[in-house]
Structures are given as structure tokens and as C-alpha cells.
Symmetry: C2
Subunit: 321 residues, 2 copies
């Protein structure tokens, strides 16, 4: 049986899964931490640990048709990881070449959010759409866009950085070093930081004074009726709606998919978000056929995205069957 | 000989040109005002005048292979002009159907800025690029994007509204009714309005007190060393650079083309614009292969864009030869 080996490298853990030729249910899943906490025999660097994980799943007599790795970084067309802030040493890191030294199967590397968009389009919430925007809102904000039934990659594979548009000039610092980006005002990190600032200024809340506060705590407090927590989510939703209106004016998609931990807040986020989109959209025609939907896949979005890329590389003939 | 009939409908005038099967030099060009100023026998409504202009060029024995009209509005896939603010009565206006009643050749309608992007890509500054952004900066700001060698149209033909992204929340009102859009802070109209506001507040300038001031006057005063005029252009360039950094993060193009009257200011605009892009870009990889170039075509951008669409409809087989 043909199999596909998908790997998702995150800042905390690396996951690998073997998938069959059909469907999205893995035959095997295995994981390890990205960095060694003890001498666990799995290697010291993220690359060594990635190699260990793949080795431990590898069946030499039945190698996969293709190995695809999702990385938390822009990735260029040569499989070079340009800058993964959460993975020590992965700056201009030739991941594809490193893997190809060890494994003699076709290998592809992609940005995790781009691949998640591809996965949602092929197997999840985006099936049947030709133009869609995928946004994942968690620690940071990542994005991926399907245009004319193709993943938007751009000239050098860097496209789809939807978290890094300026929504509030002179706003808070972003993880990328710039100011007022969408990620800096609407990610889980940004929500939690804003609440901490408000508490420091003396605003009352049920959240208590134990720092740091997490965006999950904020969501729970908001569900419990805490006014400050509700305002924090509404504020993030306002900027998300402003940015999504921008993206809708740019792409005119038929679907916006929202993934990541923050998007699991449900109506708490989606209601003010819809209001903000309506408030910011320039003409009703953009909304006539537009759906806004939660992502179908959660933590496994990167793996399923890697699977989607692997399958499409085989079916398109880009990689020989 | 095969010919192509291209028409560009603007708020002030309508231009029509017959092109041969090769090249971008028209065989014939003819124009009329969009609205009747006197009883000139060309019709009273913009549609009547458009029909008159086409009729006057029409050779019944040698009809064109295709008739393409560029309109100053989003246009849906059925050739309906959704909202042309400068053309009375053209709201949800079925232009393609109206033309098809009279002319029995294949007809296509497109947004003028989208078509201009297509024209620059096929015949102008964008030749050889696979991913480019085109921005036209004049009274308003229009845009068009080429992604993977295709014009970005979106689900309903409305994509590419690059002038309508929010760059300054709570900023000045935009022509579309919203606030702080790129068009509202960096178009020719916005530049002139900002200078007028500064003069009203008592800022010294060589521009004099005769209102209204035009963006062309501002550009000339800036070239002459006027500090207020220079600041006005630099301010627009700053916001253009911020928005272009957004677009570059989203699309990762290899080329940005700037057209329209304001882009003719040369180094006066381009120098601070380049600085602003560098200031706002999140990673140097986005700039490695990026070129920024002035448009090859000026006033004829819409006509040449319509020609480009006509040729591609024929060569792709979308319209029968």
C-alpha cells in the first residue's frame, strides 16, 4: 500500500504521522519534544530529534511515496527554512537538503499555516471553494490563501503572511519586531498582554493578579461574564474584522476559515468579528456569497496540510508515481 | 485582418480603439465625453454615448474578434457594473447585456485597474513576471494583482481593491464612505485635501490661497522646494509604503508597478516610498528579488488592458476563434 509520511515541526513538539493512500486517518502517529529536556537518546538539536522521529517510523521495505514537513517559518522553493523564531538554529536552514541526505524519497517542505490552508481546502472546511482565506489565531497569527484552486506561495514561497499587516500604526510591538501588526493586537499573546496592561492600570476583573495571564483564561473569564475579559476579546475581534475586510477587498473569497486556539472561543469571538467585518466592508457584493467558518482540523492541521501537499505532488505528477 | 475593439469608460471621457492582431499600436482611436454637455447628437446617457462611439468605429463587414470594455467599477462575472460612482446610473448596470443587444460579437467587461494590471503584465513593465502588484494612484487608488500568471479576480470578480484597505483607523473619510483607507490618505485627492487643511491651519507655503489645490500643483511646489508640499508627498509615500509592505507580505511578488498621475512625480515620491517599504517589511527575503517600477502605459492603460483581455480570451480558447 502507498503511504505518505507527514511531519509537523512546532516550537514545543514534533509530530509525525503515516497516512494511507486515501482518507485523513493516520495509520501511525508519533511525537517527541522539539528540544531535549533530558538525555533521552533522541538527539540534542531539533534536526537530530526530527531525524530520530522519522527513523523510528521508517519502514525500509515500504518507504513512503513522499515525505512532507510543515515548518513554523517561511520556506523558500528550495526547502530552506528562512526564519523559525521558536526553533534554535533554524535561520536560513536547508532542511530539505538535510533530510534528503538521509532519506531517499521525494521530500517537500512547506510553511505550516500555508499547508494548513491547503489541508482545510482539500479535506476540511474549504472543500468545493475556489477562493478562500485561512487564518490561524493562537500564540501568533498565521495565514494561507487559496486563489483559483491554487495555494498562494508567491515568487519565493513567502506569501500568505496575513498576521503581518499593519492594522494600527504605532500600535504594540509584534513578534517580528514591527509595530501594530494584526498579530500584535489580535493573537492570543496580544489579548493576554492587553488584559495584563489593563489590570496594571487598576481595571477590575475576576481574573486575579497572578501573572502571566493566558488567552485561554481570558476566554473563560469572558464566558463567565467578566467585563474586562469580554472587552479584550471584542477588541481583538474588531481588529480581526478590520483586517479580514482588507483581505476580502483584496481577494474576494467565498470563504474565510478561522483556526487556532483563539478561534475556539465560538460566538464570543465570532459575533463581534462578524459585526466588525460588516462595519468595515466597502460594498455588500463582497459579502453576498461569503461564508465564515471554523477550521475543521485543530492540532492536526499541520499534519493534514503536509498530507494534502504530498498527495497533490503525487497526483499532479510533480513527483513521479 | 483580425481586429480587437477596446473601450475605456472613464468618468470624464470614453475612449475606443481598434487594435490589430499583433502589437499595442492602435489602428484607430476615437473618444467622446461620458456625459452630454450640449446637444451633440451623441446621446444623453453614458450608455447611449458609449453605443454611439462604438457604432462610429464599427465596420459591419469586418467586425472585431472581440469587444472588451474597461469600466471604473467592480464588475461581476456576468458583465454587470456593480457601482461606478462617477457614471450616473451605473449601479448594478448590466453593461454586457446592453452591449450584446446591439453587437453580435463576443463581449467582455472588466474593472479598469484590473485590466491595466493585465496590460502591464502582458505588454508593459510586468513582462516575464509571474507575481506582480499594480497600483494606480490618481484621483483614487486602484489595483490589480497577477498571481501565478493569472489575473486575480476572486469569487465574484471583485478582487484587487487595493485602495480600500485600512491604513489609518479613524483616518480621513474615503470615497467609498469608510475611514482611513489607503485611498483616503495617499491618492491625489487625499494629498491635495491634506495640504488645504494645513493651509487652513496657517502653515506657510508657496502654494497660495486659491482653492481648490490639485495634487499636480502640490507636486510642482514640492519640486520647487516648498516644505509643506514636500511633506504632503512624503506623508502619502509613507502610507503607500506601509500598504505595499502589507501587500508584499500577502503576495510575495517580484514586481510592484506604480501608475497614475501621482506616480509621475518620480523620485519625489519613489524615494520616500522605497524608504517606507524598507521600514515596514518584516524580513529581507521579501525584498531580495523585488523590483519597483513605474507603469509603462499612462492614459492608455485601460485600453491596452482591455486589448490584453481580448487577446487572452481568444488565445486561451475561452472565446472561439
Amino acid at each position: 500500500m502507498d503511504t505518505y509520511l507527514a511531519v509537523d515541526v512546532g516550537g514545543t513538539q514534533i509530530r509525525a504521522a503515516i497516512y494511507p493512500s486515501e482518507g485523513v486517518h493516520p495509520l501511525t502517529v508519533k511525537r517527541t519534544t522539539t528540544q531535549a529536556t533530558t538525555a533521552d537518546g533522541r538527539g540534542n538539536t531539533p534536526l537530530e530529534r526530527l531525524l530520530w522521529l522519522i527513523d523510528s517510523l521508517w519502514e525500509a521495505e515500504h518507504p513512503p511515496k513522499v515525505l512532507v514537513v510543515a515548518a513554523p517559518s517561511p520556506v523558500n522553493p528550495h526547502g530552506v527554512v528562512l526564519e523559525a523564531p521558536n526553533i534554535p538554529g533554524w535561520v536560513n536552514f536547508p532542511l530539505k537538503d538535510e533530510l534528503q541526505k538521509r532519506f531517499e524519497v521525494p521530500i517537500a517542505i512547506g510553511n505550516d499555516a500555508n499547508l494548513a490552508a491547503l489541508g482545510e481546502w482539500k479535506f476540511g472546511a474549504g472543500q468545493g471553494h475556489h477562493h478562500l482565506i485561512y487564518l490561524t489565531i493562537s500564540t501568533g497569527i498565521g495565514g494561507g490563501v487559496i486563489v483559483n484552486d491554487q495555494l498562494l506561495l508567491g515568487d519565493n514561497g513567502l506569501a500568505g503572511e496575513l498576521g503581518h499587516i499593519t492594522v494600527l500604526p504605532d500600535g504594540p510591538a509584534c513578534g517580528c519586531g514591527h509595530y501594530g501588526h494584526l498579530e500584535a493586537v489580535a493573537s492570543g499573546t496580544a489579548i493576554a498582554r492587553w488584559v495584563e496592561e489593563q489590570i496594571a492600570q487598576g481595571r477590575p476583573t475576576t481574573l486575579g493578579n497572578t501573572l502571566p495571564i493566558t488567552s485561554k483564561q481570558v476566554a473563560q473569564a469572558a464566558l463567565g461574564g467578566d467585563a474586562l475579559a469580554k472587552e479584550a476579546i471584542q477588541r481583538a475581534a474588531h481588529f480581526l474584522g478590520q483586517a479580514l475586510a482588507d483581505f476580502i477587498h483584496i481577494f474576494n473569497p467565498s470563504l474565510v476559515i478561522l483556526g487556532g486556539g483563539v478561534a475556539q472561543s465560538g460566538a464570543l469571538l465570532f459575533e463581534p468579528l462578524r459585526q466588525s467585518i460588516h462595519q468595515h466592508i466597502m460594498a455588500p457584493g463582497f459579502l453576498e456569497r461569503l461564508e465564515i467558518a471554523p477550521a475543521a482540523f485543530g492540532d492536526e492541521a499541520g499534519l493534514i496540510g503536509a498530507l494534502a501537499l504530498g498527495r497533490s505532488l503525487i497526483s499532479s505528477g510533480a513527483i513521479n508515481k
